[in-house]
């Protein structure tokens, strides 16, 4: 880890002032569960680290039936899991967070950190940059790409977005508040994640001197929701593929559906093809399977990850069936 200056501001205005205009000069520290390992591996080498721990207004979880849920970016994953309102109103979010499993990471890791965590691509983590290049040559297409993207992977980015919360939040129609020198702006979470085209771009719609402050989730009354994650190990591992589904039913008929895939593309991957299959139908095993198939119909697997197409398809199918059965 490179030596750095540590700043512990108490207001978001102060925090933003302490951040730099350029990526790489300063880094935000939330729970540190990801940022510390990035620094230890010299993947990030900031000269200043700005902690958000002391900024009270970034904390808290509140639910109001009329407006929905506000998650402070610094609310921990444990707080999310333990919130009675979230458990009652958004069970899929709780399930997504619970998948992280490790009590240490749940206690330290924050909701904002989960959304902003950097990709797990092992080339990135070994120092070959976000786009995983060595002497200008892309390493992923011919390399060990078993965990890489099967969708949105025409390059130059091949990593997968690592967040388990993002697909569920997007399916619920969440937006985020971003605070920067110009004040606050709101962005739909579905627009927040970006696929970088060059090494100096990041994978979300944040500038180097902006912070994520809140996540806002509209009321979900009357919906049925579920997630399904395909995990090889029970703990300390990321899903190989995941899907989040939110359904609005009219009797037994699907009125509207949101299907978002996780861990399959550089961004959480909405699957309108699957949604189109569901609308107007009664959920059955066959319908769910057809939706799963539609969700991955445009997949373009790399040399070693064709199996993920099948996993994503099954994740969608199973999430739909679980949602229809009453949810998570």
């Amino acid at each position: 880890m490179q030596a750095f200056e540590y700043a512990n501001p108490t207001t978001k205005e102060e925090a933003v002032r302490l951040l730099a205009n350029q990526w790489g000069e300063a880094e935000i520290l939330a729970g540190g569960t990801d940022s510390l390992s990035l620094m230890k591996d010299h993947v990030s080498t900031p000269r200043r680290v700005v902690s958000l721990q002391a900024i009270k207004e970034l904390r808290g979880i509140e639910f109001k039936p009329a407006t929905g849920l506000r998650l402070g970016a610094m609310a921990t994953l444990s707080e999310l899991i333990e919130s009675a309102a979230v458990r009652r109103e958004y069970p899929a979010l709780v399930e997504a967070a619970e998948g992280v499993r490790s009590p240490q990471i749940l206690n330290m890791g924050t909701v904002g950190g989960d959304l902003c965590q950097r990709p797990r691509c092992w080339y990135f983590r070994a120092g070959y940059g976000l786009l995983a290049r060595d002497d200008g040559k892309a390493l992923v297409p011919e390399g060990e790409n078993q965990y890489h993207a099967i969708l949105g992977n025409s390059g130059p980015a091949y990593f997968v977005n690592p967040s388990s919360l993002a697909p569920a939040l997007i399916a619920l129609g969440a937006k985020v508040r971003v605070f920067g020198p110009q004040g606050t702006r709101e962005v739909g979470l579905d627009k927040f994640f970006l696929t970088p085209a060059s090494d100096d771009q990041r994978e979300c719609d944040l500038k180097a001197n902006e912070i994520l402050t809140d996540i806002l989730v509209p009321p979900a009354k009357g919906t049925k929701m579920a997630i399904y994650e395909v995990r090889q190990r029970e703990a300390l591992d990321y899903p190989l593929a995941a899907a989040a589904v939110v359904l609005r039913l009219d009797g037994k008929t699907v009125k509207s559906a949101r299907v978002v895939l996780g861990h399959v593309a550089p961004v959480p991957w909405p699957a309108p093809e699957a949604e189109a299959v569901l609308v107007g139908k009664t959920i059955s095993e066959a319908v769910a399977d057809e939706a799963g198939k539609a969700a991955v119909s445009k997949a373009t697997p790399l040399s070693k990850n064709a199996y993920k197409v099948q996993l994503a398809r099954v994740a969608v199918k199973r999430a739909i069936l679980r949602a229809a059965q009453g949810g998570a």
Binding site: D41, A126, Y128, Q232, R233, L236, K304, Y307
Partner: protein, 713 residues
């Protein structure tokens, strides 16, 4: 057989041996009082870090350390491998830096400029056609008449492809230690090692320091699995650096460095044909194997394993690669040989439409001299796994995507006790000390020594103090080959019996009987058959006056206290999600013999640990190498996947004891139970889904690929 004076007590007389006794180090380990090499901090200590080569194969062209030397806090910079050296794996150590603090040493590394000439590397060996001249075929080996066996028109022949990749040791405590020159001539090192007594000679040879001037210490160590017998380059460098700076130096490998260089188990891949008569009698074996253990390649593993199939042809190719150096990995060669053999035999049993347990039973004559042991163990394992109820022919035909299957495998190992000397002391205050240069890898060595002594003296386990982990103590062998328990229990038993004789001699006059009529039991020294005539242990020891009894115990020695050679049977019960390819372990049954068991609890613990490790390499583990960069891509524990508590299902361990087992004396156990899981789990998956997944680990990608080719039926 005439009773020999050191013999183990008869079954009815054992108070401690064979019982479930908690390890004596438990509280210290759980509370953090146990100090590992990592925890050693010496006054004025400095920290070393190593600069690793980023390339898998390269020649060092230049090294410039000037910028590192200028960094405040840096005490010395040492070039480990000189310009012109050819490096054979990524992670190999080039330069060492010592600084006041770890982070300064780390920063200094980044200021060192090394230029390399990159040379071609090979880090993938599964596809033999891609390795070029790195392949070194060995001479074909033949026994009997394999051609006739395979040409026999009545023979049933099964042919398959099998393999397991290079995996790493992943010791919880990385390699390394602390070095301190006590004075200009005398060196003391705290090293995480499996070989306390064996380290000074190795260090002496390299440093040119007299062996008597070197002391190696290792009170507690966090796992070795075969990778910690030598001081290694970093151990030697640490001593040199400490000398250069005149201060103690700590040098522990960082996790990713440790993963790259400090331990790998060779891979093996194989095309195997096996022949049998229609009744299942094995008649022929043909194998083409290849594998790598780094630049040194990999020698032919012991196949066919356990069952000495008649009429064999074996061809083997060793592949020299740049994946990093191989080291002995818990039962070297056996997990691989077992996997290759027991999967091929399981496929043959399936082709014969035979229950695999019946098939193994049928061929046990080929498992001499342990035919009877395997028969009993197979029966016991089948009972514990409810085989008759739960086993079905290949392909679980029940509805739904989740398929369940059972698989079996058998293994063997030596485990005879190593050379061991110990000092046994009975002090006038009644205290007892056993002192020897052995080590406790987490297996419970201290505990079995304490039990052996306590049993002999008729004392509780807590009454015995065990001193190990210091090379100044009487030398005991390295802990490899499962030789420790046999070695230390033998030396301790003999020493304690002799020490007790001396105590009897001191006590006998006062009790008015000859020393031969005394016995030690229940904390007393008493006249045999007349417990009324007795002294407490403390009173008896007081008769020693001011002089302790000091006796040397030795292994090997008179009387047969141990032997070598064990069997073992494991059954895996798994569920496979055929839509996702995810394999879950429902239950693992391990039936294991190891002669006379000193501590049933630590013996069972060895099996639990070994099976957890076995599940890891069956389902998750692989040293993933990138062919373009030549680097290991998963050197940290977030990406090098080990089995966690949620992944291991229920583990049922049954240790074989009683007549036919106890009378073989003490035999080691550290390695055998880790051998069979690979084959047992792979066979269970084949039983569940009706098709073989050829190579470990059984990842979703491979399970789905196998299913796409066929299966269930």
């Amino acid at each position: 057989m005439a009773k020999c004076k050191y013999d183990w007590p008869e079954a009815g007389q054992r108070k401690l041996i064979g019982k479930r006794i908690s390890r004596v180090t438990g509280p210290a380990m759980a509370s953090g009082q146990a100090k590992y090499s990592y925890d050693i901090n010496r006054p004025g200590m400095l920290y070393a870090r190593l600069l690793a080569c980023p390339y898998a194969h390269a020649k060092i062209k230049s090294i410039d350390t000037s910028e590192a030397e200028k960094l405040p806090g840096v005490k010395t910079v040492r070039i480990i491998q000189r310009v012109g050296t050819e490096i054979q794996w990524a992670g190999d150590e080039i330069v060492a830096v010592v600084a006041e603090r770890e982070e300064i040493a780390e920063d200094a590394l980044r200021r060192i400029k090394v230029e390399y000439e990159k040379l071609p590397h090979i880090v993938h060996e599964e596809d033999l056609s891609q390795v070029g001249d790195r392949a070194k075929p060995a001479a074909e080996q033949r026994t009997g008449d394999p051609d006739a066996a395979f040409k026999d028109p009545d023979a049933v022949i099964s042919e398959g492809y099998y393999g397991l990749p290079v995996i790493i040791h992943c010791t919880p405590e990385t390699h390394g230690g602390v070095a301190e020159w006590v004075d200009a001539e005398n060196l003391r090192v705290w090293i995480s090692t499996q070989n306390v007594s064996g380290l000074p000679p190795q260090i002496a040879e390299t440093l040119g320091t007299p062996v008597t001037n070197i002391q190696a210490l290792c009170e507690y160590m966090g796992g070795g699995f075969g990778s910690k017998f030598s001081p290694d380059r970093w151990g030697i460098e640490m001593a040199r650096l400490a000398k250069d700076v005149g201060k103690p130096v700590k040098l522990m490998l960082q996790r990713e460095h440790d993963s790259m260089v400090a331990g790998a188990r060779p891979s093996y891949f194989a095309k195997i044909r096996v022949a049998a008569k229609k009744d299942g009698t094995l008649t022929g074996w043909e194998s083409d194997t290849w594998g790598t253990g780094g630049p040194g390649g990999a020698t032919l593993p012991p196949i066919p394993y356990v069952l000495n199939v008649p009429n064999q042809i074996k061809r083997h190719t060793s592949v020299a690669t740049n994946v990093g150096p191989a080291r002995a990995w818990r039962a070297p060669g056996h997990p691989q040989a077992c996997y290759l053999t027991m999967t091929a035999l399981d496929d043959l049993a399936a082709k014969l439409n035979m229950d695999p347990i019946e098939f193994l039973m049928k061929n046990l004559a080929l498992a001499k001299p342990r035919e009877q042991i395997y028969r009993q163990e197979l029966q016991k394992a089948a009972e514990l796994a409810e085989w008759t109820k739960n086993w079905h022919p290949r392909g679980d035909k029940s509805p739904g995507p989740i398929k369940r299957g059972l698989g079996v495998s058998i293994h063997t190992w030596g485990g005879g006790g190593h050379n061991s000397l110990c000092n046994v002391a009975i002090h006038p205050d009644g205290s007892v000390e056993i002192t020897l240069g052995s080590q406790d890898l987490g297996t419970g060595t201290r505990t079995v020594i304490a039990i052996t002594a306590a049993e002999t003296f008729g004392l509780p386990v807590e009454a015995v103090t065990v001193n190990i982990g210091d090379s100044k103590y009487p030398p005991s062998g390295g802990s490899g080959g499962s030789t420790t328990v046999g070695g230390v229990s033998g030396s301790t038993r003999r020493g304690c019996v002799d020490a007790l004789e001396q105590l009897f001699a001191a006590v006998a006059p006062g009790l008015g009987v000859p020393a031969e009529q005394l016995e030690a039991a229940d904390g007393r020294i008493q006249v045999k058959g007349d417990a009324a005539k007795s002294l407490t242990w403390k009173q008896a020891c007081a008769k020693l006056g001011v002089k302790s009894v000091q006796v040397q115990g030795k292994n090997p020695g008179p009387c047969q206290l141990g032997s070598s050679g064990v069997g073992g049977v494991q059954i895996a019960d798994v569920s496979v999600d055929t839509e996702t390819g995810i394999v879950k372990i429902n239950k693992m049954v391990a039936v294991q013999d190891c002669g006379l068991i000193i501590d049933l609890k630590t013996a069972e613990n060895q099996c639990y640990g070994a099976i957890t490790m076995g599940i890891g390499y069956s389902l998750f583990e692989e040293k993933i190498m990138d062919q373009v960069t030549g680097r290991m891509l998963n050197p940290n524990l977030d990406s090098y996947k080990l089995a966690g508590i949620g992944d291991i299902g229920e583990i049922v361990v049954h240790m074989m004891t009683g007549p036919g087992y106890d009378d073989r004396g003490v035999i080691g156990l550290g390695e055998p139970p880790v051998i069979a899981p690979g084959a047992a789990i792979s066979n269970a998956v084949a039983n569940a889904i009706g098709v073989r997944v050829p190579t470990l680990p059984l990842t979703p990608a491979k399970v789905l690929a196998a299913l796409a080719k066929g299966g269930i039926a």
